[in-house]
């Protein structure tokens, strides 16, 4: 029964995709209006859970992040260079992804944390989706909660932004869908009882009920590729960072909800 419903639902998506060809408009135009943050497309219970600083399961990762911040890694804690995160990290997460001059490429927050772990602390890289990396990401992101997302796509970051934009409009997978089909053309419509969001990154890292644990935006984007039955780009893939930069630019001005709760 579930598979039949899934099949019908997927058929509906495909028909939707085909039917809206004529309404897609000029490629590159991807500013949903009005901009609506991710939590608006979750249930009231999810919103309440996200707002509850104690019951929000991400608070566990934030608490861990806070203790890791002060813990020496290879003899040196984050606090040694950055002092109190409440001060030094305020506004930081709202500017990521960004061009990193030292690494010579655009990086997301997780990659920047690892650049410090490896480069400054001289310790082994924290694994993608590890509790430690997610904890630090959640703790740092928490310091920017409520602040408007404001990424730069100027100078050397521009090429990455263009690559992200191209990918955003490229149909992929067995379902032959591009991000724009769901998140620009169909946001607010329902798909098997779920309301399609505008696809903004402002709630990440988040506790996803589907995963029953915290996860990064990278993991969520990979899941989108899986959702349209495309091969998932590997963790650390330049495609994913480019897409992250594009969707961050597209969500410009929206306040950060991180660390969020999603279904």
């Amino acid at each position: 029964m579930t598979r039949l419903l899934l099949g019908v639902g997927l058929l509906a998506i495909a028909l939707l995709a085909m039917g809206s060809e004529s309404r897609v408009g000029v490629e590159g135009r991807s500013h949903p209006s009005p901009l609506r943050e991710g939590s608006e497309f979750q249930s009231a219970d999810m919103r309440a859970l996200q707002a509850d600083d104690f019951a929000n399961p991400m608070a566990l990762w934030v608490a861990r992040g806070e203790s890791l911040w002060g813990e020496a890694r290879n003899g040196r804690p984050c606090a040694a260079c950055h002092g109190r995160a409440e001060a030094s990290m305020k506004g930081v997460a709202a500017r990521y992804p960004r061009w990193d001059a030292g690494l010579g490429r655009v990086v997301n927050l997780g990659e920047r944390i690892n650049a410090c772990v490896v480069g400054q602390q001289g310790a082994p890289k924290l694994a993608a989706e590890s509790d430690e990396l997610l904890a630090l990401e959640a703790y740092i992101a928490r310091q920017s909660r409520g602040m408007p997302l404001q990424v730069s796509i100027d100078g050397p970051a521009h090429a990455t932004w263009e690559a992200g934009r191209a990918l955003y409009f490229t149909r992929v997978g067995q379902l032959n869908l591009a991000c724009t089909q769901c998140h620009d053309r169909s946001w607010g419509r329902t798909l098997l009882g779920e309301t399609v969001s505008q696809g903004h990154p402002t709630g990440w890292p988040a506790y996803r009920l589907e995963w029953q644990r915290a996860g990064s935006l990278e993991r969520r984007l990979r899941a989108c590729f899986n959702g349209v039955r495309a091969a998932m780009p590997p963790y650390g893939s330049p495609d994913l960072v480019a897409l992250e930069l594009y969707v961050a630019w597209r969500a410009q001005g929206l306040p950060l909800e991180s660390p969020g709760v999603r279904r």
Binding site: R3, L11, I13, D45, A223
Partner: protein, 151 residues
Amino acid sequence: MKRRAFLVAGAGAVVIGARPLGASAQEVHDIRPILDAITGGAAAEEGGVDISLPALAENGNSIPLTVKVASPMNETDYVAAIHVIAERNPRPVVAVLHLGPWSGRAEIGTRIRLAGTQKVTVVAALSGNRFRIARQEVHVTSGACLDEGSL
């Protein structure tokens, strides 16, 4: 047109990755033996138990539950335990929570898993070998973009 439809139908039939508990895959258990084990065969009085659950849950993994039982919670008249039973879960007994006069109120909150749309039954065990029972139906939907926990 035809090719795309075929792909869609094909994709619909494929089962990929770690499967979560399906929305309708589970059967409803007969929970009477569980209820009998709690009450020792005695009848449970209907009512006096307020179950707060959303009528519709987006995801079966984490659903907020609050239970309130009307009780003075004094030394001679109190709620000793609250049993939460989900008839369609593979293990129907979700939790047993123990209170006493020291609790002051018979009210608990937690988050539970539900394997699909079903009735949740709550039995309150009171002092003096008395029992109260109530039920609440919850509709659990399954998301469209399930990544089935893919990492």
